[in-house]
């Protein structure tokens, strides 16, 4: 049995294509992917939530502070208005219409007292200064004596203060460089404006309100921005940001455009913040409440971290557990592979252990069955091969024998031909010597007997030649030697050869050649002669009266040789029979007509060997016509024969 153990080395298992790794990867993915997705969604939701919360927080802080500011301003206004109690107003009116030093001093004192009133928010005082000026803008009384005598016509609040209660938006007072907010209340007596009571608000409160950072974490802040020039009116929580320069951010610009809302944008530090921007129309300023995005969403970071931890732990657990179960699949598979390899290498007895009653077990069982079947098949195959080899051996012997037989046959024929001819040589030779008067005188009686000896010797020679020819043909040793042949000459020789016999039997013998027959054809003259002479001999033999015509014709690419006689004819049933060896029409004709019965067999064989054919038509009592058809091979260039 031929085992191919080197048909292919076992496949090197690629690390990354390993089943266990694949399963492992799938497992890992299946645990990680959902986790990641969930995490992502959670993160988004959490951060959205956190964002909403922070915005909400910022909005309420902003709202709260705006309220505080408005309350503070309102408190300021109402405080001033409260000063204008009827008797105080009267005093003021007196002072305005007829300023006296006492009056002035008195009111100065009143106003001075009022500056000690604290703001409702914070512990700072509400007003720095409170002063009073008449309709012409001259300051008649003030909590600060230095103000007295000033003319406020060039102050920004002046014109508006004459019309109604006015809040001058924060501005930097000249020279002092201090931020100032002036609240004014008109003083009307009998419906007529006589003067204005104005308070210079202490902006410590403003700053206190805006820099209160409860609920704003570590990075949250609120601040005010001036609509004049985008300057900060209250300080930034962070160092390095001057109050006296313009700031433009999404939040600031929107607030100063009069809008209120929430957005995420880069603040003046160029850090991403969640911001609530608001326009305070009472002060004509923008209020910004902002918190860094990073701080606002810090909580979500915690969530992210936690879920990351969970994810990692889960993955590890999955890995550990999974690995155990994966092995349960991959180990049997490996075992199967190993068994298969061993079987391939020749160990047909290798069986796979069936451990589980599942698909793997089924596979193992089927595998074992397959191995058994394979083994028995192989045994059968071995037997068959032995048989075949035996047959082959026999065949070889037979072939050798057949070759030997053929060889011996050939040798036999050659030897036979020689051996048979040799005694005939003596027989024919001596008889011909005697008959040719080369051996002395012989009387007629002796002549007759010697003639009979010669005739029989010739018959024997014919038989021998016929048998040898058949044997040659059948052994394939008959060669057709094609040579350029003058058919005309050949035909003429046949005529010559048979003309004597024609004379003797007193038969008309005619030989015709179609002029279309080429002068030279490629043919084996000897064999052609053998055919022609054989047919003619038969014709002469079986014809007693009448004629024999030999005609040679060329038709298309064929050469036709026709021997037509007016002999006894051939019965219909015998027309094919006659071509068989040793056959004559019937046994009696042999005795009557002689012949070996080989002639037509040889003729037919020769025709076949020359790629031709022979057929016969005959009518009993009328005659027979034998037609030989051969391929015509004209030779174009003349060659000497």
């Amino acid at each position: 049995m031929n085992t191919s153990s080197s048909a292919g080395a076992p496949m090197k298992i690629r690390f990354w294509e390993q089943l266990s790794r694949r399963l492992f990867t799938i497992l890992l993915l299946l645990t990680i992917v959902p986790l990641v997705v969930v995490q992502f969604i959670t993160l988004r939701q959490t951060s959205d939530q956190a964002q909403k919360q922070v915005f909400s927080q910022l909005e309420s802080v902003s709202s709260l502070k705006a309220n505080e500011l408005n309350q503070w301003l309102a408190a300021g206004h109402s405080q001033i208005r409260a000063i204008l109690a009827p008797d105080t107003t009267q005093n003021i009116n007196n002072l305005i219409s007829a300023p006296t030093d006492e009056g002035q001093t008195h009111i100065n004192g009143t106003l001075a007292n009022l500056t000690s009133i604290a703001a409702t928010i914070g512990k700072t005082r509400l007003f720095r200064d409170i002063f009073l000026y008449n309709a012409d803008g001259k300051v008649l009384a003030s909590s600060n004596s230095a103000d007295i005598g000033k003319i406020v016509t060039r102050q920004p609040y002046y014109t508006n203060s004459l019309a109604n209660a006015y809040t001058q938006q924060p501005y930097y007072a000249l020279g002092v460089g201090q931020l100032t907010i002036i609240l004014t209340e008109p003083i009307t007596v009998n419906g007529k404006l006589v003067g204005v009571l104005a308070g210079d608000i202490d902006l410590a409160t403003l700053t206190a309100i805006m820099t209160e950072r409860i609920g704003l974490g570590e990075t949250g802040e609120t601040y005010l921005v001036s609509s004049d020039n985008n300057y900060f009116l209250t300080p930034s929580r962070f160092d390095g940001f001057s109050l006296t320069r313009a700031y433009h951010t999404n939040g600031i610009d929107k607030a100063l455009a009069g809008q209120s809302g929430a957005a995420i944008y880069a603040d003046y530090r160029n850090i991403s913040v969640l911001g609530y921007y608001r326009w305070i129309p009472e002060l004509q300023v923008g209020l910004l409440a902002e918190q860094d995005v990073s701080e606002a969403l810090a909580a979500t970071q915690g969530v992210l971290n936690t879920s990351l931890l969970i994810g990692v732990v889960s993955a590890l657990v999955a890995v550990v557990i999974g690995s155990l179960y994966i092995a349960q699949v991959t180990t049997p598979v490996r075992e199967l592979a190993q068994a298969a390899i061993e079987i391939t290498n020749g160990n047909l007895a290798r069986k796979v252990q069936i451990r589980e009653r599942n698909e793997i077990g089924l596979l193992a069982q089927a595998f074992n069955q397959m191995t058994d079947q394979l083994t028995s098949n192989l045994k059968q195959l071995d037997l068959k091969i032995e048989e075949v080899n035996n047959t082959n051996a026999d065949l070889q012997v037979a072939t050798v024998k057949a070759r030997e037989a053929a060889r011996l046959k050939g040798e036999f024929m050659a030897t036979m031909s020689h051996e048979l001819r040799t005694p005939l040589n003596a027989m024919l030779g001596f008889s011909s010597i005697l008959l040719d008067s080369m051996g002395g005188e012989i009387d007629n009686d002796a002549r007759h007997m010697i003639e009979r000896i010669q005739a029989n010797s010739e018959r024997l020679l014919n038989l021998i030649n016929g048998v040898l020819d058949i044997a040659k043909i059948e052994a394939g040793r008959m060669e057709i030697v094609y040579k350029p042949t003058d058919l005309y000459k050949l035909v003429d020789s046949w005529r010559q050869q048979m003309s004597v016999l024609a004379e003797q039997k007193n038969l008309k013998f005619r030989v015709e050649i179609d002029p279309a027959v080429p002068a030279l054809i490629s043919a084996d003259g000897e064999r052609l002669s053998q055919i022609a002479v054989n047919l003619l001999s038969n014709a002469f033999k079986f014809t007693e009266q009448g004629s024999i015509i030999l005609s040679t014709r060329a038709l298309n690419d064929e050469l036709l040789i026709e021997v037509k006689d007016t002999g006894i004819g051939i019965p219909p049933h015998a027309t094919s029979l006659i071509f068989e060896e040793f056959r004559q029409v019937d046994g009696s004709s042999r005795r009557a007509y002689g012949g070996t019965g080989l002639g037509l067999a040889i003729v037919r064989n020769l025709c076949r060997m020359m790629d031709g054919s022979i057929r016969v038509t005959s009518e009993m009592g009328q005659g027979s016509t034998f037609i030989v058809t051969l391929p015509l091979k004209p030779v174009l260039s003349p060659v000497a024969t």
Binding site: S417, R421, L424, N425, A426, L428, G429, F430, I433, M438
Partner: protein
């Protein structure tokens, strides 16, 4: 057609055949036509006789013991004294290629057995006529 009985006068012909009957047939025919015959029964004898006698013509069988026809012609052609003696093979072998084989071996030509007296002579003469040495034979060949 009759061949003259003197056509082979003054000819010495060496005939070699291991079959006595065949040898006798040939000898009788040739003698009848005037030739002097020397005979040998195998190639070896033939060779010695050829050397001794220097016949005008050798007619030899092929299959003979001791030294066969092929060996004989080989030896004849090897020997300067005998190589010019024309030799004709006379054999019962009738296989194709025998003629050409004979001629390439050195035989002038080749005649087949079985023979008849008349056919043998006419064939022989035809062959002899081809040999330039024997143009004298033109006379007396054809007698009506």
């Amino acid at each position: 057609m009759t061949i003259s009985r003197t056509v082979l006068n003054s000819w010495t012909i060496l005939a070699i055949d291991d079959e006595p009957d065949s040898l006798e047939v040939v000898t009788r025919i040739l003698r009848f036509h005037g030739a002097s015959i020397v005979t040998g029964c195998n190639g070896q004898e033939g060779l010695e006789l050829a050397r001794k006698v220097h016949p005008h013509l050798i007619i030899s069988d092929i299959s003979m013991p001791v030294l066969d026809g092929w060996g004989l012609i080989y030896e004849l052609k090897k020997d300067r004294t005998t190589l010019n003696i024309p030799a004709i093979a006379l054999t019962a072998h009738a296989m194709p290629g025998d003629r050409s084989r004979a001629i390439s071996a050195g035989f002038h030509n080749y005649l087949t057995k079985p023979l008849t007296a008349k056919s043998f002579m006419s064939d022989l003469l035809i062959l002899l006529l081809e040999m330039p040495e024997f143009s004298a034979l033109t006379k007396g060949v054809i007698n009506e």
